[in-house]
Amino acid sequence: MIEAIQSLRQQSAQISPPVVALLLSILLFLAGGLINPNFLNVAQAVNIVRLASFLGIIAAGQTLVIISGGEGIDLSAGAVVTLGAILTFRLSSGQNDMILPALLVVLAVGAVIGFLNGVGIIVLQVPPLVMTLGMTGVVQGTILVLTQGELIGNMPPLLGRLIAEPLILGIPGVVILWVLVGLGMWLLLERTTYGKQLFAIGVNRTAARLSGVRVPFIVILTYTLSGVLAAFGGFVLLGFTQTVFLNLGGPYQFPAIAAVVVGGTVLSGGKGSYWGTMSGALVLTLIESLLRALQLQEAYKLMTLGITLVVLISIYGRQRSVRQ
């Protein structure tokens, strides 16, 4: 009997964090049904996945940066999301045929910001935390200069239809887009030389260098990709919010990092996955929706969210020690 329990415990310890997160999100969804029977239906499920999509797409770049190790983190992602949305809003001015040109500009601007982050970290040896925090200020300042405080522009109607409204079989466009991003990220991480080298530099930069990996190039490329993906996140988010404001992306900054960590990507680098981040985004969105369904005050909501995260991560920590 005792042996049976022990073996069960050992088996459960071998489940990977992404699976834990995914199971947890299903559990949370069912728990939502207990609190409020209206919670348990397809429309609600679709809505939650739709909300999670935005967080998930914004967290894609963060996943790469955290895997790259060396205390890697991109605190400028939130500001870049805002900039991406504002640029799309302004450049397209509500014209459908301007969506594509606007997108290209947005991606290029994201790339430049990410590239500068990477150069600061590699060439000037500024710690990622400080470099990207500084970059947040620069981007926010740029937004103010660009807009002069006035947010002129409009959202192209087509963008709203493509993103927010049901596209195929009642599934919103953004969810389909998220799945495509997921596929792309899997390819990037698991089936490209870049992906393999990214994990390598995350574990041990000396060993990677002595195996022929150009560490500075990979780091700069990673921060550049993070900038591109954050800017793309802003573009997508605009399709949902339909309008822009100066702190549009800010509220996504820390949930995006949390989604990466809840999904089992290790903060010290070298280990993780994007499908983990996707599960993490689902968990965070569900917790948030549940707390809203409970009609808790904002203060209690924040406290519960924080405590849940700490508990979840401590379970992962325990798992690791069991395995050693």
């Binding site: 050992q10 390819l187 698991e190 089936r191 490209t192 030389t193 393999k196 080298q197 994990f199 390598a200 574990v203 041990n204 000396t206 060993a207 990677a208 260098r209 002595l210 195996s211 022929g212 990996v213 150009r214 070298g270 280990k271």
Partner: protein, 505 residues
């Protein structure tokens, strides 16, 4: 010092389904040195960690001075006078030598404030034990991260000694030491024996075991398989006990170099911060040895050739200039490098064996990566190296030291290198793997690979190489070949004496 006796009986340790130790037995008492022998993964470290309280056994008994004891922590073992020196260092790099040695048992004034003067004085006394074998830069206030590996190991030994142990376990503690430091350590061990200390000596170096130990306990696959009195046994007998079923490692004889072998690597006046002008030729199919004490520039030479550190001078590869600013360039020109520190420079511990083997080669599998081919290629190399593993997807951290080292070498074999640079590749590797390793080097050499081979083990250089360059203080002190290649010349050149020189000042 009081007398002490410790006996471990039928000790078992399981990790999940893996049995690390199935029947560990060890007896040791005051005034004797017991060598603990076994191939990697045979349970030596597990047994010593049970004795020092680092891990709790599943079954078995420990008797100290005749009474049954259990240790809940390393502190519990230390409090009764049992301590260990490990190969993987436990020092804190950003603290001074004195702070490291006295960490957690600092001498105190009135039982409260740390008595720094006393601490420095006592540290000075400890360092004096190794006087003449360490540089003057090793002093109580030196930061540990400013010390070379051998001196860090000395500090580690002094740290254990500062606890005034009754039983000390030296687990591969000589692997990073040079021959003078080893000799000094053995003198000290003789002294400690006289004072009544009991010593357990874990080492892969057979000559050291015969120099220092009184008895040997042999472990194989987690169980004690034999106990021998050193003066009544032979190297051969012990090795056979360790690797029953395998052919004992007679020294692998190096093949002769073809007289017309073309020069692959031509090095002229190479210099770095440490190297002061190195010149030599390396031929196709040659296994050229690099000898000398630790830290005389051997690592720098290999790193500079591989493009990992900046250097001046001229290097020609097959007649073409070969001055690399990044290892990737060296790699593309057919160079390969096995670094000296496996864990920090060689492998990605938490990543899979597959990813470690393919790290330098992913590019050739296209986009998307052809994983079927990558896996097949890696599997082939793993088989060629007889890698003992669960699967290619298991992390390298699950491998024994010898097998992890095979992975480091294996990743280069996948690229068919023309020049192989080896930085002490058999350090801390078990006998069995060493033998496989020598055979592999001979195969590579026969196939025309040019190999530059640094080893801290003199026997290895003497038995494998036709020619050895002895480095001292950043220069080639002697070139030994043919008749001049013998142990006496190797040692005297290592010490910087010139009587063995052959065309060098």
């Amino acid at each position: 010092m009081n007398t002490v006796s410790l006996s471990a009986r039928n000790v078992t340790k399981r990790y999940g389904g893996v049995v690390a130790l199935s029947d560990g037995n060890l007896d040791v008492q005051s005034g004797e040195v017991v060598a603990l022998l076994g191939a990697n993964g045979s349970g030596k470290s597990t047994l010593s960690k049970v004795i020092t309280g680092v891990i709790a056994p599943n079954e078995g008994r420990l008797h100290l001075d005749g009474r049954a004891v259990t240790f809940s922590s390393p502190q519990a073992a230390k409090s009764v006078g049992i301590t260990a020196v490990y190969q993987e260092l436990s020092l804190i790099p950003d603290m001074t030598v004195a702070e490291n040695i006295w960490l957690a048992h600092e001498p105190r004034r009135w039982g409260i404030a740390v008595d720094h003067r006393e601490m420095r004085a006592r540290t000075q006394d400890l360092i004096a034990l190794f006087a003449g074998t360490v540089q003057s830069s090793l002093h109580p206030d030196a930061l540990v991260n400013s010390l070379p590996p051998d001196e860090r190991q000395v500090v580690e030994i002094l740290k254990a000694l500062s606890l005034q142990p009754r039983l000390m376990i030296l687990d591969e503690a000589t692997a990073s030491l040079d021959s003078r430091q080893v000799a000094r350590l053995f003198e000290l061990i003789a002294e400690w024996k006289r004072q009544g200390m009991a010593i357990v000596f874990v080492s892969h170096r057979m000559d050291e075991i015969f120099r220092v130990a009184d008895r040997a306990t042999v472990l194989r696959n987690g169980a004690s398989v034999g106990d021998r009195v050193i003066s009544e046994t032979t190297e051969q007998e012990l090795v056979e006990l360790m690797i029953e079923g395998m052919v004992a490692p007679d020294s692998v004889q190096g093949g002769q170099l073809a007289p017309d072998a073309p020069v692959r690597l031509q090095v002229r006046n190479l210099h770095t911060d440490l190297l002061k002008g190195i010149s030599f030729d390396l031929h196709d199919g040659e296994l050229l040895g690099l000898g000398g004490l630790q830290g005389q520039g051997q690592s720098d030479l290999l790193l500079a050739l591989f493009g990992a550190i900046p250097c001046g001078g001229q290097v020609l590869l097959s007649g073409q200039p070969a001055h690399f600013s990044h290892p990737q360039q060296a790699m593309q020109r057919g160079l390969a490098f096995v670094p000296g520190d496996r864990a920090t420079e060689g492998v990605l511990l938490i990543r899979s064996i597959l990813e470690n083997l393919q790290l330098p080669s992913w590019r050739k599998y296209g986009f998307p990566l052809n994983m079927v081919r990558a896996r097949a290629d890696a599997g082939q190399v793993a088989q060629e190296l007889s890698l003992v593993m669960e699967s290619l997807d298991a992390p390298v951290s699950s491998l024994s030291g010898g097998n992890a080292q095979k992975v480091v070498l294996g990743k280069w074999l996948l690229r068919n290198p023309r020049v192989l640079l080896l930085n002490d590749p058999t350090k801390g590797v078990d006998v069995r793997t060493k033998v496989e390793f020598y055979a592999l080097l001979n195969r590579l050499r026969a196939a025309g690979t040019a190999i530059l081979f640094y080893s801290s083990d003199d026997e290895e250089l003497l038995s494998l190489c036709n020619r050895v360059l002895v480095l001292h203080d950043g220069r080639i002190r002697a070139e030994l070949a043919g008749e001049t290649l013998n142990h006496a010349n190797l040692v005297s050149a290592s010490m910087g004496t010139t009587n063995a020189s052959n065309g060098y000042e």
